[in-house]
């Protein structure tokens, strides 16, 4: 958290990051319904470089980043583990570590983000008001790290 949080703070202080539409190279959609997903950050949300890059490339920059994974683990324990279990194998909610996935698209960085940000089906509601997009990228990177095949 330290490095990125510090960077975020510096940028906020510099006033460099007014929230607003980001470069929309990736077309996000609802993971289950396929409808377009509005990923405009909340007005009070700090947009980190990782989020900007993700919106441009569709690649989660935090994958394999030890500090981000540590944050992601904490977020996972707060929001995800009681349905998906500490190891991601699922109980009330589905397995996040395969081998099969309900939404094949969720095996990609974009799809996993879409499921958390936009919600999926039933109890898997949108987390857009509970985590920032930067946090969703961190928790998603952690979820990926749980997959045995590293996918």
């Amino acid at each position: 958290m330290g490095v990125v949080a510090g960077l975020t703070l510096a940028l906020v202080v510099a006033g460099a990051l007014a929230p607003g539409p980001l470069a929309a190279a990736v077309a996000f959609r609802h993971i289950a319904f396929g409808t377009p997903l509005d990923v405009t950050p909340r007005p009070d949300e700090v947009v980190t470089p990782a989020v900007t890059r993700f919106h441009e490339t569709g690649q989660n920059p935090y994958v394999g980043d030890a500090a981000a994974l540590a944050d992601g683990k904490q977020l996972y324990e707060t929001w995800c583990q009681s349905c998906h279990m500490p190891d991601g194998s699922g109980r009330i909610g589905p397995s996040l570590i395969g081998p099969q996935h309900i939404h094949e698209r969720a095996t990609t960085d974009v799809g996993l983000f879409e499921a958390v940000f936009g919600g999926a089906l039933g109890a898997m509601q949108s987390f857009r008001d509970r985590m920032t997009q930067d946090e969703i990228l961190r928790v998603s990177a952690y979820v990926r790290s749980l997959r045995r095949d590293g996918s």
Partner: protein, 472 residues
């Protein structure tokens, strides 16, 4: 005689149904392979849609109608309020009943855990004449005990039971202590016999530590049946036709001259018990046409079950919990099961993502918590029990195909189904919350839920808002 009147209607209905399906009357499964599982085909099931009726409800967990010709729908909010939705879909700003205001020391309702709160309202079959409504909730002053209480509507104020009127008319019918904060059951409803049925869960934690399902000396883990048409000096009476109404009359203990069978039949049960062996019958519904009863019994880690009782039932059914969960064993330890069927099998069951510990994860056809919505007799459906799943957002249909029960997934949505009921025209209503265990921020803090009407896709009015769905 209220009961006489109701029976006439019921018998007429039963007669018509019997004529129509004389060769294929529903039977309860007698072997495990007769229990319906996902993948079946329910006769006459049209493609369904959920049409939004109203929204903005705080954790709606119950819905019903008064059947008084007003067309009103009553939505139960977990916090302790009942909201009125008018025939044209307006939500009245003032609640019909507000149990957060009746006690000057604080709310009447305990909502600390998401399974706690006000669950259900039932209108007396003669509501139009006597104004009586009945509610079931977890009590804050009584440390989470569940209370069934009656309130009476003032004719001059049909849409609002004021705090004054509530406190003037309240009558406590039952007060059942609760050992843990989960598995309360919740629904109360009048049967075609005019008696009040109360769904009670096993009292909580997991594994039914009290063996409440099987113990006949407890009111937990049961379907209860009571007569509330008694003088106000009494709480309620036990109908003499309850299966254990006379058990306690074996007062004179006798050791000799009794056959083995005679000994085995001695049951010192609580006389309020109608059926037992239930885990958490949060929702149950009577079919308005036939009087048959469907019970959605929420399962533990692996299976959800739907039970069925024909209107001719004399009660006393044992639905098997904690020896069985759905048609399976409890505890369920692996793919090879070896345990007897205890009591009566469900008519349908569906698995969680892991149908047994260590099973390959399912990617379709699963859920986690069965919430019965109502019995549909429209759009090609005949006595089809619709069931919503709280976690997966699936809408299931359970029906009889002439020779066996079928379970079919109708659609999947992003709704957390909590409850259902019928409107005055017989259409199935559903409510959803955004109050899932982990997400629960409090009965007034969660994002609001909505009220939906389940219609055949072909009957969705132009311009209506429908829930987004995925079809299997």
């Amino acid at each position: 005689m209220k009961r006489g009147t109701v029976w006439v209607t019921s018998l007429l209905g039963a007669g018509l149904v019997a004529t129509a399906i004389a060769v294929s009357a529903q039977t309860v499964p007698t072997a495990r392979d007769q229990v319906a599982r996902p993948g079946g085909q329910v006769a006459g099931l049209p493609p369904l849609a959920l049409v939004k009726v109203a929204d903005g409800f705080n954790d709606p967990v119950g819905v019903t109608s008064a059947n008084d010709g007003s067309g009103r729908i009553f939505v139960v909010e977990r916090v302790g309020r009942i909201k009125v939705v008018t025939k044209d879909g307006r939500v009245l700003p003032e609640p019909f009943l507000d149990l957060t205001k009746t006690n000057p020391l604080g709310s009447e309702v305990q909502t600390g855990f998401v399974e706690q709160g006000l669950w259900s309202v039932a209108f007396h079959p003669k509501f139009k004449e006597n104004g009586h409504i009945f509610v079931h909730y977890s009590s804050l002053p009584f440390n989470g005990a569940s209370i069934v209480a009656r309130y009476t509507v003032d004719r001059a104020s049909p849409d609002r039971i004021t705090t004054e009127q509530a406190n003037k008319t309240v009558k406590v019918i039952m007060n059942i202590p609760q050992p843990w904060y989960n598995h309360y059951g919740g629904t109360i409803a009048f049967g075609p016999d005019g008696f009040l049925y109360v769904g009670k869960g096993d009292g909580g934690w997991e594994g039914d530590l009290l063996d409440a399902g099987q113990r006949l000396d407890l009111l937990l883990g049961k379907m209860l049946r009571i007569d509330v048409d008694v003088p106000d000096t009494e709480q309620y009476r036990v109908p003499t036709s309850n299966p254990m109404a006379r058990a306690m009359q074996d007062r004179m203990m006798s050791l000799f001259g009794v056959t083995e069978q005679g000994f085995a039949s001695i049951r010192q049960g609580r006389p309020e018990i109608w059926a037992y062996g239930l885990r958490n019958p949060y929702m149950f519904h009577f079919d308005r046409r036939s009087g048959d009863l469907f019970i959605a019994d929420v399962g533990q880690n692996h299976w959800e079950e739907i039970n069925y009782q024909p209107a001719s039932s004399k009660g006393g059914e044992n639905y098997g919990w904690r020896h069985n969960q759905a048609s399976h064993c409890h505890p369920l330890t692996g793919p090879t099961e070896n345990c007897p069927v205890v009591g009566v099998l469900p008519v349908a069951e569906y698995p969680h993502q892991e149908p047994y510990p260590g099973a390959p994860k399912l990617t379709q056809g699963f859920g986690c918590s069965a919430q019965g919505l109502g019995v549909a007799n429209y759009g090609g459906m005949s006595k089809v029990y619709l069931v919503g799943d709280w976690c997966s957002g699936r809408l299931w249909a359970v029906g009889w195909d002439g020779s066996r029960w079928q379970l079919q997934e109708s659609l999947q949505t992003n709704l957390q189904f909590t409850a259902g009921g019928l409107d005055e025209d017989g259409f199935v209503l559903a409510v959803n919350c955004n109050c899932f265990y982990l997400d629960d921020k409090g009965a007034m803090q969660n994002p609001p839920g909505a009220l939906w009407r389940v219609l055949p896709q072909s009957q969705v009015p132009a311009g209506a808002q429908t829930a987004p769905v995925v079809r299997p």
